[in-house]
Symmetry: C2
Subunit: 443 residues, 2 copies
């Protein structure tokens, strides 16, 4: 039996539910929207990730005995609300950006429709998943762009909480990484896994040569040997002496990488190991990767910076009520008025506008009061519709889940990244690469 996810929730969602069941507003139909007010860190675009994971967690969003006992024993909600929660199952609908899609400020990444009661309590879970995974994917996409054709491996599990590490490996893969060190990401999400040996492997043995010899006996001559435990030049010499010139690769995990990579490449070539590859793994981020573009490096391993969003560990998305039913059954757009945190009320339909060359020019958001979708055309040559149905009447579209969902998201990401204008690919801080344009249609 899967672990329930229903308490991965802020207490205020349940106290609001409690009061709403009491005053009758719990049954009002509502539209909640998940979006980012801005792109953190001066990024030029964001990458949506986590959607498939969220759908799996939504499937397990239920209040079992342990959850109910906690709420009851701590007086969080009334007995009537306990009864509501015991039977809780989300019966509404969710549309949203496809996982792997590019997004901009105001993009309606998720639109959750249902009663206030069933939709309000999904706030924390939805934000937790999307904020974390999208932050990682956004950073990963920049690294993937900087790396060009050279493969990138994610190896930052140790610098992220143990379950976030799995989600981070998944998000980085969607955004263009080719593999991860994390085994659970391989098992649960089908992400290719990689890795050979750490410094401890060399230190465990009486000599570096013993360690290399044993690793080759176990993993074959095509393995990658870590050559910087003691002296790098000596390590490279030993590696080739033990493995021969067919050695698969050497890994460098320290030092000034452009200098070290150049001297190791020269040494390998001198020794005749011209096809032995060089992988580097020391404190890389998108800027360090870009700076190595002219160095003789064959692949990169990235740890801390990708799992922590390279300076922006959360995407800063919010979950806001944007429309609700009134007493007369009609729809009312609602929005907070607070300074610097204002939001745009109303249900939204989103398109990416494209010029005749297929290059994206704007994020077009059509705002229509109430529940109906706007009449705007879908998927015209000059306007790609961005939202898909994820949940309908409580039924989750399984195509977005599991390893298949991840593979589809990665393919989608790499495809839609091609639409971006060239200036979107630069690493420096800037405004979003596309303007967000609202088009408000009165009901």
């Amino acid at each position: 039996m899967s672990t329930p996810t229903a308490l991965l929730t802020d207490r205020y969602e349940l106290t609001m539910l409690d009061a709403a069941l009491r005053d009758g507003t719990a049954a009002r139909r509502c539209v909640f929207e998940l979006f980012g007010r801005r792109l953190p860190g001066g990024r030029r675009f964001g990458v949506v990730a986590g959607t498939g994971r969220l759908l799996g967690l939504l499937r397990d969003f239920r209040f079992d005995e342990a959850e109910i006992a906690f709420l009851r024993d701590n007086g969080v909600v009334s007995r009537e609300t306990i009864r509501y929660l015991e039977d809780y199952r989300f019966t509404g609908s969710i549309t949203g950006y496809r996982e792997g899609e590019i997004y901009f400020p105001g993009s309606p990444i998720l639109t959750v429709e249902g009663t206030f009661a069933e939709a309000v309590i999904l706030e924390t879970l939805a934000l937790s998943v999307l904020n974390h995974d999208s932050a990682v994917a956004t950073a990963a996409a920049r690294m993937s762009i900087a790396a060009g054709d050279r493969p990138l491996a994610e190896m930052g599990s140790r610098r992220a909480a143990e379950r976030s590490a799995v989600a981070a490996a998944r998000a980085a893969y969607i955004a263009g990484f080719s593999a991860t060190s994390n085994l659970e990401a391989g098992r649960a999400w089908g992400v290719p896994t990689m890795g050979t040996a750490a410094h401890a492997w060399t230190l465990l043995h009486d000599t570096e040569e013993d360690a290399f010899r044993s690793q080759i006996a176990s993993l074959g001559v095509n393995t990658t040997l870590l050559v910087d435990t003691y002296d790098i030049a000596q390590g490279v010499a030993t590696a080739v002496a033990v493995a021969g010139t067919e050695l698969g690769g050497v890994r460098l995990d320290s030092g000034d990488l452009p200098t070290v990579a150049a001297s190791v490449r020269a040494q390998l070539d001198d020794l005749g190991a011209t096809s032995t590859k060089i992988t580097v793994t020391s404190d890389l981020d998108e800027f360090a990767i870009a700076a190595l573009a002219a160095s003789p490096v064959d692949s990169y391993g990235v740890g801390t910076s990708v799992v922590t969003g390279s300076g922006s560990p959360t995407a800063g998305m919010v979950y806001k009520l944007v429309a609700r039913q009134a007493n007369d059954g009609g729809w009312v757009s609602v929005a907070k008025a607070s300074t610097s945190k204002a939001s745009v009320g109303g249900r939204k339909t989103a398109f990416r506008l494209r010029d005749p060359h297929g290059v994206a020019t704007a994020e077009s958001i059509v705002v229509a009061d109430g529940f109906e979708q706007s009449p705007a055309a879908r998927d015209r040559a000059d306007a790609r519709a961005l939202q898909v149905t994820l949940v309908e009447g409580g039924d989750i579209d399984v195509a977005h889940e599991g390893a298949d969902g991840v593979a589809a998201a990665r393919a989608h990401h790499l495809r839609v990244r091609e639409e971006l204008p060239v200036m979107a690919l630069a690493l420096s801080r800037a405004d979003p690469a596309l303007p967000t344009v609202y088009d408000v249609i009165d009901a």
Copy 2:
């Protein structure tokens, strides 16, 4: 049945294990050490958190059918290694800093002793937990110091991955926060939970007055009303009109907080609501909290900054082999020589030295080759021993687990924080507040 944690592991640990079982080094007794080379973000001290959580995850570190099937089907390890993993159970010992303890560069936060095979595969899990939780606790301690006697609530779940959010709430509580919004942190770890209503609550209702009236009917007049959905002055007036002067509190989530807090305090006092408290929750970090010290604020809610480590989302700790048995049965200290990533070999015993007034003066680390603890005295008036036994011969000390472990860690943290010199409490970037002094004893 609990979920196994054994695949929360980097692939290279298993490929090393595979090769070590083949060449016979798997059985060598080893000492691995978990420590930080430096304190990230120019912090003056670090706070250890995650230890109790790690022990629970270690209890579930096993390879069940799903884990074995993945490793077998993907050819990660040989059949002999599969057989070893099927029976895996950690039988070694772990000593370490008590959870909640202060640490400095080089502090031996965990020392894991066992065969190479059983100890090497704990690397990723141990680092994931300690790096994340300690990063949050370190940031939280600074906020707790900045807040002084005013209560701090953690409410950043939405800005952290869903399971990290629970760990972050737990870590923040250990480091001095008084409550969390996260319900699972309450259920699993006994952290007090709090929260009343979001802006959606006001927007759901036809008027702000309706929303306030309903909230008071449900939660009582002692509740906290969120007054900034529309106009703050009007919100405060409505709040007091509805609740009366006995209203528990108002919450401000936007605007220039020093200005807004002062004007709301004046308005509440004018209305006779002199005991109504003001809580503020908008984008706070330790610096913003410190800047509000002179403002009429009664409590703080902190979100993004605490769960993301306020600029340092990982503690950057590493897990290194520091000693191993040689062929003759004797012990060998080992250490990597790489530039900028060198480590100090040998098993270590750590003390916090204190002056006659009880103020900490240095982190004293006694390095002794081999397995025996150094003969240094424990818990003298001028030297507090920092390590405790967490696991002995595979048996986990349950005192560190669960809600009791969290309560003990919080109490320990608040106690040992008192030892720090006053300059350790400043928020600006600096060197560590205590020097780390090594004392190497030849065996």
